[in-house]
Every structure is written in C-alpha cells, then in structure tokens.
C-alpha cells in the first residue's frame, strides 16, 4: 500500500486515516491489523475543541481542519422524494420532447426533410456520385501529391469540352449526366 507523500503532514494523516477506514470497510472480516476495529461508520459529532493551537506542536496526530467538519454543512437530502414529486418533475412540459413544426416534403424525391437542412436522400445520391468522381481522379493521378494546378472539369457520356474549358483537366464519367449536376 503506497501513499503519495503530500507536503502537508495533517493532510497525509487524513489520507492515511481515510484509507484505513476504507480498507476496514471493504474487509471487515480480516482487518489489516494496524488499526483497532472502528465503531459506526459515520458517527461524526462536532468536536468539543478544535486543536488549532496544538497542530503546530504535534505534527502528525493533529486533526486536519476542513473536510470532517464541513461534512455537517454539506447539502444532503432530508427525505426521500415521493414518486408523485418525481413524476411532477419528470413529466413537466419543459422536459417533454417538443413537436417539430419544421418538417416538409422534398420536391425532388418526395422524402421528408427539415426546412433548413438538405434532403437526406438527395444528398446521399450526390455523395455517391462525388465518391465515384474522386475514384476517377485517383485513377488518373495515380498517387498522392500529383494534383495539377489547373481546374477540373467533369464530362459525362457524349459531352465535349468547349473553347472556354481550354486548360482544364478532364475527368470522364461513363454515365448519363445526372439532372442535378448542371453543365457550366
């Protein structure tokens, strides 16, 4: 059992006593042998006097101020909360899920969508197509760090580049142009 050596001797004494109590609590049948059997686990009374003056003189045997007295001032439930009180809290309208009023029908595919968000189905289609385009780009480049410094143009079946698209890199996709991917 290794205790961290803290700089304050009262704190170390407190930790030692804490750990002793925990060990006794865990193994009541086989006590460690160092400390005598304890009384009730929490029988904390306000001490008659605070040995503040004696703390400087006797180093390790002083009461550490703070924790064991401030237990008396900790917030603790006084009575069990009844199920009626619990229900009032759990079923309060602020805790219930609000009904969403911003759901519409996507005009393209007919699925449901939220007003301020893209339609999930249409976006999935776009993502799949973009993934295919990226695969084509990977095949063309053949490795990392080979991206050219010119624009990319995606052409579908039966499309030719115009004079405007002079210096651009062409990516061919072997399918019909999707309706949502407009040219130019």
């Amino acid at each position: 059992l290794v205790l961290v050596g803290s700089p304050l001797p009262p704190l170390r004494a407190l930790l030692q006593r804490c750990w002793g109590r925990l060990r006794c609590g865990l193994l009541p049948s086989a006590p460690g042998g160092q400390s005598p059997p304890w009384g009730p686990a929490l029988a904390v009374q306000a001490p008659a006097f605070l040995p503040q003056a004696a703390s400087d003189a006797s180093g390790s045997s002083a009461e550490a101020p703070g924790l064991w007295e401030s237990i008396l001032w900790m917030a603790v439930p006084k009575k069990r909360r009844t199920i009626e009180v619990n229900r009032c809290r759990r079923r309060h309208p602020s805790k219930l899920i609000k009904v969403k009023r911003n759901i519409d029908v996507c005009p393209e595919c007919g699925n449901l969508k939220q007003k301020h968000v893209l339609c999930g189905y249409c976006y999935a289609k776009v993502r799949a197509e973009a993934q295919q385009i990226r695969m084509e780009i990977r095949k063309k480049e053949g490795g990392p760090f080979n991206a050219p410094t010119v624009e990319t143009l995606v052409l579908y079946d039966g499309e030719k580049p115009t004079e405007k698209d002079e210096g651009k890199r062409i990516i061919e996709r072997a399918r019909k142009r999707p309706s949502w991917f407009t040219q130019n």
């Binding site: 805790k95 219930l96 899920i97 759901i103 449901l112």
Partner: protein, 203 residues
C-alpha cells in the same frame, strides 16, 4: 426384450437422416420447441375475433396491436418518445421520429412501419395512412447486473436496462385533441361538487 428395440428406434430416427427434404414433415410447433417463449399478452390481443356486426351497427374500426421486446434502451427515456407520438396520425408520428435525435426513435419507427405493414396485409386496413396511434406504452424488460470498475479497487454494480415498446394502431383519423382545462371549468366543477352534496341525518 423391448428395451433394445426402443433404444434402436430412438437412435434411428428417420427424420434425422432426411433432414433437408422431409418425407416425414415434422411440425416443430408442438413437438420439439417447448413453451420457452411465452406469447405475451399484447401479442394475444391481435387474436380476438368479434362476432359479425349487425347491419345497422356503425363500422368497428380496425385495431392493430404490435410490440417489440427487449430493446436495449431505458424505459424512462423511451417513455418520452411514446408520449410524443400518442394520439398522432401515423404519418406525423413517423415524421417526428425521423428527425428525433434519440436512439429509441429509430426503434419505434421500425415498429410503426412493421405495424403499418401488418395492418395492410392481415387486418384488412384499406389505406395505410388512415391509421392513428391510440396507445403507445413502454414496459421494463429483463434487467441484468454487471460490475463497473472504479479506481482504488472499488466497484459498483451497474444495471443494464432493457425495455419493451407497445403500440396500438386504430383505423381512422386521429381524434381531435381535448381542449385544455381552464380555470372557469375548474370553478364550475367545484361549484357542481358542492351542489351534489347530500345532507345526512336530515329530511
């Protein structure tokens, strides 16, 4: 005498030899599978058969009971979703659940779609949108205790929660919501209660 014959017949079971193509069809319903999975009360509600309606009676709306058991979710958290969709039409309920961020929303959506499918196929419902949710409940499933390890050799016993979800779909548009109780209604009821008192031991 007969014991070795019994043992032989017990060992040589023809249905074991011809397992895939069964010349001896063994219906597993009553022979092999013991009643381990008890049919729940909610599932049995689908089996009631009403007597045929008389000509003058109004049409009894179709009722479909469906449930899912042992969902890995907490019953208290599931209750909020069940409360959300109580009394809605099935389309509205599916819309709300689709955009809810909760884990149970996905499960309830599957259950509702299954129930809608059942309604159209087996329960003679004409339009799959003409359903509304009459009841939607949660129940606790089997809990399991596990050890949760803490620092310093301490441990806690945690509980793995599971729940059931029950839903009853009824054919027809959803009923109009009740108007909320105003103070005037409460006052009227109070006055009526006072007036209903009888004086005992008098004429």
């Amino acid at each position: 005498g007969g014991s070795w014959v019994q043992r032989l017949l017990g060992w040589a079971r023809p249905e074991r030899w011809l397992a895939p193509c069964s010349l001896f069809p063994v219906s597993c319903l009553h022979t092999t599978s013991t009643p381990l999975q008890k049919i729940g009360k909610w599932e049995k509600k689908n089996r009631i058969v009403y007597p045929p309606q008389l000509p003058g009676e109004p049409r009894r709306p179709a009722e479909i009971y469906h449930c899912r058991r042992e969902i890995k979710y907490s019953k208290n958290k599931m209750w909020y979703l069940a409360k959300l969709i109580k009394g809605m039409s099935i389309d509205q309920a599916l819309a709300q659940l689709e955009f809810s961020d909760k884990k149970g929303a996905k499960v309830i959506k599957e259950v509702l779609l299954e129930a809608q499918d059942l309604a159209v196929r087996k329960h003679n419902v004409e339009f799959k949108s003409n359903l509304h949710i009459a009841e939607s409940l949660t129940g606790r499933g089997r809990y399991v205790k596990r050890i949760r390890y803490h620092a310093r050799g301490m441990f806690g016993i945690m509980r793995i929660n599971r729940c059931h979800y029950f839903v009853k779909l009824v054919e027809g548009p959803p009923p109009p919501p009740e108007p909320p109780r105003t103070g005037f209604d409460q006052a009227k009821e109070y006055v009526q209660e006072l007036r209903n008192r009888t004086l005992i031991n008098t004429l």
